[in-house]
């Protein structure tokens, strides 16, 4: 199973909670965020960069993230993103929504006992 088999809409919808959750651990920059998601998903979620940065910008425009440029000694400057308080409450709302869907689907997919 790879991202190609997960629908585009689902990938897009899950981007927000995934990004916010990664940033819960502290500020981070784009390259690392993608790497983290890839690792944690067991390489099943392989985001494209062209999707990530506009998504980060949208979250920043909504006030869920804030960003700052940091000069890097050994490489290019990096834009670090931090989750805001508004972001944390948005993440809590997303979590509730996803858990609702998850438990409903799980209940529907539970193997039913054979009728005897």
């Amino acid at each position: 199973m790879n991202t190609a088999m997960i629908g585009k809409d689902l990938v897009a919808a899950s981007a927000t909670p995934l990004i916010l959750s990664v940033l819960l651990d502290g500020e981070n920059y784009g390259y690392e965020i993608i790497r983290r998601v890839k690792n944690v998903s067991g390489h099943q979620l392989d985001w494209s960069e062209s999707m990530l940065y506009p998504a980060l910008r949208r979250l920043e425009d909504r006030g869920l993230l804030k960003s700052r440029w940091v000069a890097s000694e050994s490489g290019p400057n990096r834009k670090y993103y931090t989750i805001t308080r508004q972001g944390r409450s948005a993440l809590a709302a997303e979590r509730d929504a996803w858990m609702t869907i998850h438990t409903t689907l799980q209940a529907l997919w539970e193997p039913k006992p054979c009728p005897t």
Binding site: S48, E49, N77
Partner: protein
């Protein structure tokens, strides 16, 4: 074989041409590519191979610029307004400059000293010469020396907006003062001196802040190599 920076620059040029990324966005994307290249070369690939993979991962430039267009909706018009404002500023300075040159020529060249009609004719000549020069410049081949000089100058101005604004303001004030003195002395016209501050002040107060604000939106020091509105 072109090196990493050159190949990256030509890719950046393609992305920037769509006009949907701000300087900040370009810098972020470039930083990402460089970091990918660094990571891959550590894993054993050559720089060339790493760059090919890194750019491939970013995806089709059309798709990238389309995604950014959604998050930068007003950028195209902000860019146009920047250039219109810059053009207005340059023209204002040139206007004052032509006035100053015309008075100087009238002073030195006319046998009876400067007269209103004499100065007007000289001004007309200067404007015509300027118009012809601008048209010729616009038609120059893009590889020509003048074109490259203009490109470097506009690039420098984009990266140093405060210096550019100061120079422009200084030129305008300088020319205007000279013109007012010339008028006051030659034509015993004191009123013009009063217009000096109002003209320069209006232009300075309205145009320069707009220009600087738009610069802040469009260009970022981290993307110093990129040109605005390319």
């Amino acid at each position: 074989m072109p090196n990493l920076d050159q190949q990256l620059a030509s890719w950046k040029h393609v992305i920037a041409r769509a006009g949907t990324l701000t300087g900040d966005d370009m810098a972020e994307l470039e930083g990402h590519v460089r970091e990918t290249v660094r990571h891959l070369t550590v894993c054993g690939l050559s720089e060339q191979e790493a760059l090919v993979i890194a750019l491939r991962r970013i995806g089709d430039p059309g798709a990238v610029t389309a995604e950014y267009a959604k998050v930068n909706p007003g950028l195209a018009w902000a860019r146009r307004w920047y250039w219109m404002t810059a053009g207005f500023l340059i023209f204002s300075v040139l206007l004052q400059g032509i006035d100053a040159v015309s008075y100087a020529i009238a002073w030195l060249a006319l046998p009876t000293g400067p007269t209103m009609i004499g100065v007007s004719i000289i001004k007309l000549g200067c404007f015509t010469a300027l118009a012809v020069a601008m048209f010729k410049t616009a038609l120059l081949p893009s590889s020509g020396r003048v074109a490259i000089m203009l490109q470097r100058a506009s690039s420098w101005c984009s990266q140093h907006p405060f210096a550019t604004a100061t120079v422009a303001l200084a030129l305008m004030v300088g020319f205007r003062m000279t013109n007012s003195l010339a008028l006051a002395f030659a034509f015993r016209d004191q009123r013009d001196a009063a217009f000096t501050l109002s003209t320069v002040g209006t232009i300075g107060a309205l145009v320069l802040p707009v220009l600087l604000f738009l610069w802040g939106r469009l260009v970022n020091p981290a993307a110093a190599a990129m040109q605005v509105g390319d």
